[in-house]
Amino acid sequence: MRYLPHTESDRRAMLAAIGAKDVESLFVDVPAAARLPGPLDLPKAQGEMEVERAFQRMAMKNLSAGCAPFFIGAGIYRHHIPAAIDQLLTRGEFLTSYTPYQPEVSQGTLQYLFEFQTQVALVTGMDVANASMYDGATACAEAAAMACRVTKRKKVILSGSLHPHYRSTTETALKYTDMAAETLAPDPLAMEDLMGRVDSATACVMVQNPGFFGHVRDLAPLAAACRESGALLVVAVAEPVSLGLIAPPGAMGADIVVGEGQSLGVGLSFGGPGLGLFATRDKYVRQMPGRLAGQTVDVDGKRGFVLTLSTREQHIRREKATSNICTNSGLCALAFTMHLTMLGETGFTRLAELNHAAAVRLEGKLARLKGVKVLPDSYFNEFAVHLGEDKDAAAVVDALAAKGILAGVPASRFYPDWPELHPVLILAATETNTDADMDALVAALQGVL
């Protein structure tokens, strides 16, 4: 077996050194009744060629995004990833290292995490960011719990602008605790009244910007209302590229910013792994979940980096920790920070403009379709579209998929019990979409509507 170096003579020599007659004797503590006598009756070891063949066969059954005009977003976005990123990401010293508990042999990981934290703080307009969470949805759940710790209150208001997975993950996390989620209805027209709901029992209001249906909102008035009531404003960002063009949540008064970092450097990968972004104000840093890299000096006085403020964490605080998180999303954070480093101020701003321009072009082309209405009057690179009262967006998407076009996500996939959302289709456009893609989409929609 190619991953196992021992020869039979190695094994014999080692058993002799141990003083064991066979390997079975090393398993003496396993109850005899539970010991399996030999390998399970399951498929046997295979060489690389056989495994590759099996995976190619599965890969061929899928329609990959690059092989179709592609307009799906809803929290996971398709952007071009520069070639250098994967080349650097697979360097074994990054790929095969553990959480940097031994800083003297982990300065590479610790420095890129420090750079990552700085970049996340900069783009969100916040003071400080952690070294990543699992994904955007779990970051929302952690933010809700943190807001309750900070305010010593128990009510969390979840806006209808939130990604439905962020909402349900947060609801699940609070389910068996003394915290409670108050969830608003899906809000395709951005009509909800959040300010009217904030009261002295509210720990936080959690909104998404741009919202799940596309709206870009000025959150400053909501931030002020939260501040007045002693509640925190948590802003989720599902598409971090938007931060290159739109005022950051920090500038609008957010107390915690969470988000999904997949858009930068990570790729689609069927939705996982991604990485959760988590940023806040300096004054709340000791209530923050997750790993933090911090600057210090070594015994020679040279600048270096370590994991720090670990007294918040489970391996020290156990059941009193700010979170149970241990493994996070280090390698995805590396991809994110590399992509943002390659973009820089100039490239990141330009990428954001290209994305918005693509969505504006798409809106323009959709205007040709009678009865089709773009719902939000403001958006970044994604918007909900109403296809007409009697139309079923899910059927439209299936019909277009059969023609080789991946035409967005029907809102009913998330909200099957909301008939008024069945005609709603959520479309995203990024720098990867050509005019020809958009024309193909519009022509195909014309054919089925």
Partner: protein, 503 residues
């Protein structure tokens, strides 16, 4: 410098000093050529266009490539050398798994494509689930947890949901051995449970009598790591499971150490109700400097209906991803644990590893992992101080009695190993022995590597006993940075770069 070599540049041969990206900024440089976007249509931005610059540095591609290459060279990985970090299963990461995860037909898929266009992706999830169920003997597995701790929480949530559903919502106490990973009590707290610690016996195992005495009508479950964090199999596990079940509670097993028993024990035969599996440990997906991982969680018949959304079922038209409870009337999902459909990229790698190993290879792997740990134990027990008698499983535990009166601590000893070219073992964990040194060699290390490590450990142990505390305190001396001031980092946190503040 500790070795007396100084240079004008501060560089030391291949070890090159590298500034922060923010210190390399030259506005206008680009590392990506993007087309001209044209004028921005401000009508669609609700007047919220960003008003101020972000402050990101501009670099070129060659600078970026060199930056990350140099950073990588300041890291130690499994690819670099022996990484006996106990409880972490740092085994070789096969490159085939990486290649498979990058196949366009698996990598370039969106989670919300119509299901008819992703049948192959659902097959990956379904096949991996099948293997995990076969290897554990359990009837169901929740695939979506993102890591071990997340899987712990998932298993406990299923337990809580079961109790609530059966009018037993008052069961809130969870019994957790003192030797448990810190994530165990933290996960229990997140389910609204209270943690009741169970002491260890003098054999490094759960004190069964103490555990039984703590069982009662308010106990939701026990959380036991097996093999445990002392590297020992819980001999009385079947008895523990029976007593737990008799008290109306469930048995959560922390599966972090599954690598010791894959293919040799089906955990269903031990009476376990739920266990997470760290794909990034047992099934060899890369740790990536701290993730991403994946923590699929197997569930017994009783707990299976409470598995979180989404999950894959076999339907009339092929595989079907269930995203809403109403689609499967008998299901009672406790909710959703993360976005989308689980750590798919990790699944691909784990399945490629499992298919490469097969049933025979997986059994050989756990056997060799246990053999390697026992070999280390046998070759080191006369110079170090083993904490417990008898054979170990896949990791061996020592405490710091061998360093008594030497002035050398476990930490000093571990730091000295770094200069010798090895990654340190896990230190000061588990908490049940003093100054713990926990070594997990894994099955992918050759006898030659182990022999080299053994020779160094023996020499260092002799050296410590001969009185070389000052030298140990000064270690490591040959790394890009020497011992770092962690107290300073925590007392005056500097968690980001700011102009002029980080030199």
């Amino acid at each position: 410098m500790a070795d007396g070599v100084t240079t004008f540049s501060g560089n030391r041969g291949l070890a090159i000093e590298e500034p922060l990206i923010f210190e390399m900024n030259a506005p206008g440089r680009v590392a990506i050529d993007l087309p001209e976007p044209g004028p921005v249509d401000a009508d669609r931005l609700a007047g919220l266009r960003r008003a101020t610059p972000i402050g990101l540095p501009d670099l070129s591609e060659p600078q970026v490539v060199r930056h990350y290459t140099r950073l990588s060279q300041k890291n130690y990985g499994i690819d670099t050398g022996f990484y006996p970090l106990g409880s972490c299963t740092m085994k070789h990461n096969p490159r085939l798994s990486e290649k498979m995860a990058r196949l366009t037909g698996l990598a370039d898929l969106h989670p919300f494509q119509p299901q008819a266009t992703v049948q192959g992706a659902l097959e990956v999830i379904d096949q991996l689930a099948w293997w995990l169920k076969q290897l554990t003997g359990m009837p169901a597995v929740a695939m979506s947890p993102a890591a071990g701790a997340h899987g712990e929480w998932c298993g406990l949530m299923a337990i809580r949901a079961y109790h609530e559903d059966h009018g037993e919502g008052h069961r809130r106490r969870v019994l957790v051995p003192e030797s448990a990973h810190g994530t165990n009590p933290a996960s229990a707290a997140m389910c609204g449970f209270t943690v009741d610690p169970v002491p260890a016996d003098d054999q490094g195992r759960v004190d069964v009598a103490a555990l039984k005495a703590k069982l009662g009508p308010d106990v939701a479950c026990i959380m036991v790591t097996n093999p445990n964090t002392c590297g020992l199999f819980e001999r009385d596990i079947i008895d523990i499971a029976a007593a737990t079940h008799a008290a109306g509670a469930f048995f959560y097993c922390d599966g972090a150490n599954f690598n010791a028993i894959v293919g040799r024990v089906k955990i269903a035969d031990l009476g376990i109700d739920t266990m997470h599996i760290n794909l990034h440990k047992t099934f060899s997906t890369p740790h990536g400097g701290g993730g991403p991982g994946a923590g699929p969680t197997v569930l017994s018949e009783k707990l299976a209906p409470y598995a979180p959304l989404p999950f894959v079922v076999h339907g009339a038209g092929g595989l079907h991803l269930v995203e809403h409870a109403a689609e499967v009337p008998e299901s009672k999902p406790f909710g959703r644990v993360k976005g989308y459909h689980g750590q798919f990229g990790v699944f691909v790698r784990a399945l490629a590893y499992i298919q490469s190993m097969g049933a025979d290879g997986l059994r050989q792997a756990s056997t060799d992992a246990v053999l390697n740990a026992n070999y280390l134990l046998a070759e080191l027990k006369d110079v170090l101080s083993p904490s417990f008698d008898g054979p170990c499983m896949h990791e061996c535990l020592f405490d710091d009695r061998f360093l008594k009166d030497t002035g050398v601590t476990t930490l000093d000893f571990a730091k000295m190993l770094i200069d010798e070219g090895f990654h340190p073992m896990t230190m000061y964990f588990p908490l049940v022995v003093h100054g713990a040194l926990l070594m997990e060699p894994t099955e992918t290390e050759s006898k030659e590597t182990l022999d080299g490590f053994i020779a160094v450990i023996r020499a260092l142990a002799d050296k410590a006993k001969a009185g070389a505390a000052e030298e140990f305190k000064a270690a490591p001396r040959l790394t890009p940075r020497r011992r770092l001031d962690e107290t300073l980092a925590a007392r005056t946190p500097v968690l980001r770069w700011k102009p002029g503040a980080n030199s």
